[in-house]
């Protein structure tokens, strides 16, 4: 549905009001504004963001249950809960689900929802492509998990090393579901990256230079650049594996002369940027949260920006640190070891900047702030163990032990996940119009902290005590001497897992208590935290069109500067001015700032219209994927649906018709500018 109101002073043409019958290519366009159809066919970045978040949260629980089963199996000696084969499937699917179906899409949820709002845009550059990314992800994630019911999940580890992942060693279809499922979700990521990069570069509000962008948008932007270039590499690896498994190619067959390291290189060239893809959005979130609850601007904003870019850049040069024990040879190992040590530097810069943001500030420990501080502490632990891996000789002992498992859970959970939770609590009132309970929130936080440290802390110890990864069972005989042996710490880790699980459950309970019918939680104020950035200059939740008028930006932390003025810096009796003085005095409330915008609302607001085609095209992909596994005919059927959907999409007129563009593309006052803010796609 496009809202068009033309001012009376343009007499040349009268824009037709779009109706369902008037706006079709070869299928009538959906126009519903209520009900499930308004969600299923929406191209609104906010609804898409929420759907990303809901589905990602579902997969978080799935991945968590898989983790729970793993820990139950290892709680005591000679576990019988999972057979060796089932155990392989469990840890493979746990990791795959958590990385690809939880953390990445949850970060995408935040990026989708907040990037346009933070840069003052009404939507992303390509709204239908945005919907496509969402549905491709959803269908891909579901497809991947149907493997559980169709012969078993993938069982080669989330890094799926070949030739172990080829048919003789992994005969079930699980690995095929994995390769095809990740190809599908990979499309979602790549398309999303193109979309968001274009949005950030080209759709910022007037006055918003790159160095005035909110820091979350910057970190999400670097993340998208990483995705853009990393996804094709794993695409190559996945195709080679698929051709090996399904069509008999010999890319990884040692007996045919292949080199298994080919897989490892291709996977980790993707895999290392991938971990920065996981953590940078969370770094961006806490870079927003910390200043707000310290009542101070982010310390060293340019340094935080450039260290993010540096991490993105150097992150391409370290991948073989995942291969130190694979026989690369001393020169390669030395080079990658040094590069890996180097990348600790920009990360350290961020930690310093976050800490100095809080230093001397007026701190309020809301739940969001707790999670943000939690990230700094927990990620640092993970980062320190990471530095010990960078030293190749010590890594040779650590690799393939639980010490590594400890490291990456501290950085992914302590870094990535805690940041996401900070984002939940911080932005919940903006997205949903209600504040989550702080009481439930604090219980949520502390149980998660206790739980995660009890779970992953001991893994450092058992790793150094010699417990290998991916080991489905341990015995008393091999558990080592003394009380604090493998047995003890494994039990502690399992108990920790359940505390962690309860902690996460408390989050869901918090959401339920806040939003259930009959909840006593009232409507949240529009600016509950006295925030700083542009996305808060909207109602809660924001209107469909985001901003009443496109804001003009004059500062970093624009919202803050509209509420507070620096009233120091006046000349004294001698006419000298002390430019170093600050005295920020509040001159307006957040509500007043928003009211001013609404009083000057734009008369013309164009919104992109909903569409069926993204969902149809997305649905074609699993059909093709099932075809690869079961029946070639399905590949053709799926491809036909995909081609038909692409043509339907291309033929579907943007919004109503060309006169919807303001000004007309070929009109007299165009002046040759191609401003495709809400593009055809």
């Amino acid at each position: 549905m496009a809202i068009i109101e033309r001012p009376a002073e343009t007499p040349e043409y009268v824009a037709p009001v779009p109706t369902a019958s008037g706006t079709y290519g070869y299928l009538r366009r959906p126009v519903e504004t209520e009900g499930w159809r308004s969600w299923a066919f929406t191209v609104d970045h906010k609804k898409i963001g929420i759907m990303y978040g809901v589905v990602a949260m579902f997969f978080f629980i799935v991945g968590g249950l898989e983790a729970g089963l793993i820990r139950l199996q290892l709680a005591g000696p000679d576990g019988t809960i999972l057979s060796a084969d089932k155990y392989n499937q469990m840890f493979t699917m746990h990791a795959t689900t958590m990385v690809f179906l939880f953390v990445m899409p949850m970060a995408a949820a935040f990026a989708n929802y907040f990037i346009p709002l933070q840069i003052g845009a009404r939507d992303v550059a390509f709204p239908r492509l945005n919907a496509l990314s969402l549905w491709v992800f959803v269908f891909g994630g579901v497809f991947l998990n149907t493997s559980w019911f169709l012969g078993g999940g993938a069982d080669g580890g989330w890094f799926m090393y070949a030739p172990n992942s080829s048919v003789p060693f992994s005969p079930s279809n699980g690995v095929d579901f994995w390769t095809l499922g990740l190809q599908i979700t990979g499309i979602a990521s790549l398309v999303g990256a193109v979309n968001l990069i274009t949005t950030v570069l080209n759709m910022r509000a007037p006055g918003m230079s790159m160095m005035k962008m909110p820091i979350f948008t910057w970190m999400a932007f670097v993340t998208q650049m990483l995705l853009l270039f990393a996804m094709p590499v794993i695409t190559v690896a996945l195709f080679l594996l698929m051709f090996q498994r399904s069509f008999g190619a010999t890319f990884f067959s040692v007996e045919a002369g292949a080199d298994p390291l080919l897989w490892q290189h291709l996977f980790w060239i993707f895999g290392h940027p991938e971990v920065y893809i996981i953590v940078l959005p969370s770094f961006g979130i806490i870079s927003e949260v910390l200043p707000v609850f310290s009542k101070k601007p982010l310390f060293g904003y340019p340094f935080v920006v450039f260290s993010g870019a540096a991490i993105g850049f150097v992150g391409w040069g370290v991948w073989a640190h995942h291969m130190f024990a694979s026989g690369l040879g001393p020169i390669s190992v030395a080079v990658f070891s040094v590069a890996t040590m180097a990348i600790a530097v920009p990360t350290g810069v961020k930690i310093i900047n976050w800490t100095l943001t809080m230093w001397g500030g007026k701190l309020t420990f809301t739940t969001a702030m707790l999670f943000a501080v939690g990230l700094i502490v927990q990620f640092t632990v993970g980062g320190l163990s990471g530095v010990t891996h960078a030293v190749a000789p010590s890594d040779t002992q650590q690799t393939d032990t639980y010490y590594i498992v400890a490291h990456f859970h501290y950085v992914i959970f302590g870094g990535g996940v805690l940041g996401l939770f900070a984002g939940f609590y911080y932005w919940w009132p903006k997205v949903f119009g209600k504040l989550l309970s702080e009481t439930w929130g604090k219980w949520n936080f502390w149980l998660m902290i206790v739980g995660m440290n009890l779970t992953f802390g001991p893994m450092h110890i058992i790793g150094l005590q010699g417990q290998p990864r991916r080991m489905y069972v341990w015995t008393e005989a091999r558990a080592g001497e003394g009380f604090f042996n493998l047995g003890f710490w494994n039990l502690v880790a399992t108990i920790g897992t359940f505390i962690l699980g309860v902690g996460i459950l408390l989050f869901l309970i918090n959401v339920w208590v806040t939003h259930r019918p009959g909840s006593k939680t009232g409507k949240a104020p529009v600016d509950p935290w006295d925030a700083r950035s542009l996305e808060w200059i909207t109602s809660s939740p924001p209107k469909e069109y985001n901003f009443a008028r496109t804001p003009t930006v004059a500062h970093l932390d624009e919202f803050f500067h509209r509420k507070y003025e620096n009233q120091a810096g006046e000349s004294d009796a001698d006419g000298h001015t002390d430019h170093t003085a600050h005295n920020y005095v509040q001159v307006r409330t957040g509500e007043e700032v928003i009211q001013i915008e609404e009083d000057h609302a734009d008369p013309n607001i164009h919104l992109p219209a909903p569409s069926y085609w993204p969902m149809v095209l997305a649905a074609a992909l699993p059909v093709m994927a099932y075809g690869v596994i079961y029946n070639t005919l399905l590949i053709i059927v799926g491809a036909a649906i995909a081609v038909m959907a692409m043509f339907g999409w291309a033929l579907e007129p943007a919004d109503a018709d060309a006169s919807d563009f303001d000004p007309k593309p070929d009109g007299p006052d165009n002046g040759g500018e191609t401003s495709k803010e809400l593009a055809n796609v």
């Binding site: 734009d602 008369p603 401003s675 803010e677």
Partner: protein
């Protein structure tokens, strides 16, 4: 028009840091003020660029990583074949050179199509697009002929690492050509039926960028795969 986004961003950053070093807190960054076209009532873009064009170049940048991976796999495995089924025995350089020439010519006709579209000369745009797609089809036919010849001579997809890598690389390239031809023909049809909402010249240019990229990948493949001996 102001040029580099990157150098301006860096300059802004340096200015901010310098200001703070001098304890100056009045950093009025011009913000490059890239967006004062409010007389148009809101269709503002930060850089004055086409979103679609930006998106296409980003996509092509990512494709470098895709084809780079496939080319590297081939380069790694190019010598892993049996004695009588290697490049020296199989390649028909004159034929492949002719194919390459065909694809190169299609790049010329493509650029002439874009040029015609910019002149709003729809008739010649369609003609050049048509010739481009025919030449692309000819190239593809040549590839199919080549592959069936190799197959008959004993080089199947799974015959050796060399063969798997070769067919994967050239197969991906061929698939990209096929998609390109589909886009070319679709564009002709949509121009014919006036179904391109928005800038027609830009639509043609986008197809052109994709098509040239496919040609450029072939330039690399032709040299590395065919012309460099074992």
């Amino acid at each position: 028009m102001s040029d580099s986004l990157i150098s301006e961003t860096v300059k802004d950053a340096v200015d901010i840091v310098k200001d703070h070093a001098d304890d100056e807190h009045v950093h009025e960054v011009d913000a490059g003020d890239h967006g004062h076209d409010d007389h148009h009532g809101g269709h503002h873009t930060s850089l004055g660029l086409s979103n679609t064009k930006l998106a296409m170049w980003l996509f092509l940048g990512s494709e470098c990583l895709l084809f780079g991976g496939l080319i590297s796999t081939y380069m790694l495995y190019r010598n892993r074949h049996s004695e009588n089924l290697g490049p020296d025995q199989l390649w028909d350089i004159p034929f492949t050179s002719a194919s390459s020439f065909v694809l190169l010519t299609s790049s010329l006709t493509m650029v002439l199509a874009v040029s015609a579209a910019n002149r709003k000369d729809l008739r010649n745009t369609k003609i050049y697009l048509g010739v481009t797609s025919l030449l692309g089809g000819l190239f593809l036919a040549g590839q199919i002929y080549e592959f069936t010849t190799f197959y008959r001579e004993g080089l199947g997809f799974t015959t050796s690492l060399f063969s798997s890598s070769f067919f994967t690389l050239t197969g991906f390239h061929g698939a990209h050509v096929a998609i390109g031809i589909t886009m070319l023909v679709a564009t002709i049809g949509m121009l014919q039926k006036d179904k391109i909402s928005g800038d027609k010249a830009e639509a043609v240019e986008m197809v052109g960028l994709y098509w040239h990229f496919v040609d450029v990948v072939w330039i690399i493949i032709f040299t590395l795969v065919y012309l460099i001996p074992a």
